[in-house]
């Protein structure tokens, strides 16, 4: 339990420095001032005046917000009150708390404060999280313990809560599952999301440079006339690739530096970040499986990433990360020790599934190629013919990815070539089955099974298994309630109602 209190005052300094409030109100003031400044129409006095005004306004708004923002934890709820004129009060029941994230951007770290995000299961009305920006570093540990332990032991166990304030670093049993080896960051240039960072920054820079009023002399300097030599072009391309690769490496390092995954009490805690330090806690009791995914790039170097499937967790991909990058065998080991071991070998799907993969990967480019040839465009036709040949490899690879298996308490599904994913799901997470069978599948004796779960994407596909395999999997994983799929109709209360 925690008496009503305000946020840490040091956040005012951070907000003033970053113009957080002022930016929200005068979002266009900055660029306008910049343009005036560059064009020299604003005296240095005017510039200083604008800066001072912005700082004062920012500080004033921050202070008002800080003054009217309070939070407390009573026996059952976290209460957050805020608002300048129209007051709002959000109550998050402690038994709805699914996780607590602590995030400390660089500036926050300088002042030893952090942003606390309380992630609550849907059903609390409106948004699913409460944000405390910011509390002192000492308080974050204590708050996290209160929010997570009270939820675990229930509101009756007041003694635990009473003991908390004195012990910010509660001696909870900790078991480390994974630590990021810095060498694994070398995989980052093969991951799309990290590659996107330098590309996006480059794009933004380019756009801003173009929109800035650059004096004519400078522009001439930028537009170097190119004496297009093949060697020079190749060199430029190589340099660009190197820059992008290094950028991806840096992006990967910035977000994942010092990644540690550990079990602390009844939670899995993941810490990471070079500048912004993030700590994400996941309730172990809510973890229902994992996704091991490999984009084509990292699959070639036998690496993978690991995400947990957690019921009622928003933003699963970001928050559920169990290992951002690592060699395949390490990732598998972490999945086995932190979530569950699944050793049953996957059953391959029937040959008809291979036929369907090949028809899909080879068919369209082959047809277009023939059409182009008939239209008298041999060059374009040959390009598509090459694509069709590559499609053979893609189709075979996609087929080889297909597989499924069940053990006593879980099922596993694998699929995908460009993005291969192996999903392991606990049986108890299942909320239903969906079976799809197109006319073509019916003729080939195949069907697609979707395991519906209240976690992750909501459903995971078993693509093109044989009808028998599908029914076997359903029977093995959901004994009892799914019998209706293959048994004779039962005549129960529900049915009699319709007669």
């Amino acid at each position: 339990m925690l008496a009503e209190r305000r946020l840490d005052w040091r956040v005012l300094v951070v907000h003033a420095v970053t113009f957080r409030q002022a930016r929200a109100i005068l979002s266009s003031a900055g660029p306008i001032a910049l343009v005036f400044a560059v064009q020299g129409r604003l005296g240095s006095f005017g510039l200083i005046a604008i800066a001072v005004l912005a700082t004062v306004a920012s500080l004033a708004f921050s202070a008002l917000r800080w003054w009217r923002f309070s939070y407390e934890i009573d026996a059952q709820r976290l209460l957050v009150r805020q608002g300048l004129l129209s007051r709002s009060e959000r109550a998050v029941p402690l038994d709805r708390v699914r996780g607590v994230d602590v995030e400390a951007p660089a500036l926050h770290r300088l002042f030893r404060i952090a942003v606390l995000r309380v992630d609550a299961a849907a059903g609390t009305g409106g948004k699913d999280e409460a944000v405390l920006d910011a509390v002192s570093a000492a308080d974050t540990g204590r708050l996290r313990e209160v929010l997570l332990t009270q939820r675990a032991v229930g509101p009756v166990a007041a003694p635990v809560a009473a003991a908390v304030p004195g012990s910010a670093d509660m001696a909870v049993a900790e078991r480390v599952f994974a630590r990021l080896d810095p060498r694994w960051l070398l995989y980052a240039p093969l991951v799309g999301s990290y590659l996107a960072v330098p590309l996006a920054i480059g794009g933004t820079l380019l756009r801003d440079v173009q929109s800035l009023p650059i004096p004519a002399g400078l522009r001439d300097l930028l537009d170097v006339p190119d004496e297009a030599g093949v060697g020079r072009i190749a060199l430029t391309v190589l340099a660009a690739l190197a820059v992008v690769a290094v950028g991806a490496l840096v992006a990967g390092a910035v977000s994942n530096w010092g990644f540690v995954l550990a079990a602390r009490g009844s939670n899995l805690v993941a810490e990471r970040g070079l500048l912004t330090k993030r700590t994400v806690s996941l309730e172990i009791d809510r973890i229902r499986g994992y996704v091991l995914s490999q984009g084509i790039g990292i699959r070639l170097v036998r690496a993978a990433r690991l995400t947990a499937l957690v019921t009622g967790l928003g933003d699963q991909n970001r928050r559920g990360q169990l290992l951002p990058l690592g060699p395949l065998h390490v990732t598998e080991e972490v999945a086995a020790s932190a979530v569950r071991r699944f050793d049953t070998p996957l059953l391959p799907h029937p040959a008809a599934a291979l036929r369907r993969r090949l028809v899909r990967s080879v068919g369209p480019p082959a047809l277009v190629s023939v059409a182009l040839l008939l239209l008298g465009l041999p060059l374009a036709a040959s390009i598509l013919a090459v694509l069709a040949v590559l499609g053979v490899g893609l189709g075979i690879d996609r087929y080889r990815a297909l597989g499924h298996a069940a053990d006593t308490a879980a099922l596993a599904v694998r699929s995908g070539a460009l993005l291969r994913r192996r999903v392991v799901l606990e049986q108890r997470a299942l909320v239903g089955w969906r079976i799809q069978q197109s006319w073509f599948q019916r003729r080939a004796g195949l069907l697609t099974l979707v395991a519906c779960v209240g976690a992750g994407e909501g459903g995971y596909e078993v693509l093109d298994c044989s009808t028998g395999q599908g029914l076997d999997l359903v029977a093995a994983v959901s004994p009892g309630w799914a019998n209706a799929l293959s048994s004779r109709p039962q005549f129960s209360r529900g049915n009699q109602l319709s007669k």
Binding site: L430, R434, I435, V453, G459, S478, G480, W481, Q490, G494
Partner: protein
Amino acid sequence: MTHPAAVPRTPAYQVSPNAIGLWTLEGAISSVFLLAAGIVAAVLVPAEAPTVVRVLAAAAPYVAAAYAVVAVAIRPRLRFRVHHWEVTDESVFTLTGWLTQNWTIIPIARIQTVDINRGAMQRLFGLASVAVLTASSKGTVEIVHLDAAVAGAVAPDLARRAAAIRDEAT
């Protein structure tokens, strides 16, 4: 394990026969609009338009008429034949679709909410739909166009049984 019938079976019940009337009415309404549009296109097409456009415009009323025949005389009956549902002791079970068939089965223990929906047109035909929702966005079932009385009995029964045996594992 072997399966006597190597396909999932068909649920026992069909939707209300009144659904045919509703689907026919819906088909008729869309046909009227399409026919009107087709006739307008055929009448108003300028004589100096390219041949392709004129041929297409001339064909439009006939295409619309063909659609009307399908939508009014054929599709409602076909739809009726491919909608099946059943509530067993432990699950809700539906099958819909013709070229692509879709079976959905949900254990009653995992049902979160059961809704009854009655649209204006459904009211006209004494129909109602029952929507069964779970924690998964993909694990939902909608039994469309039941007899209002059947829906009114099935939905509360499902909700009551779900509340009695609900487990919170999801």
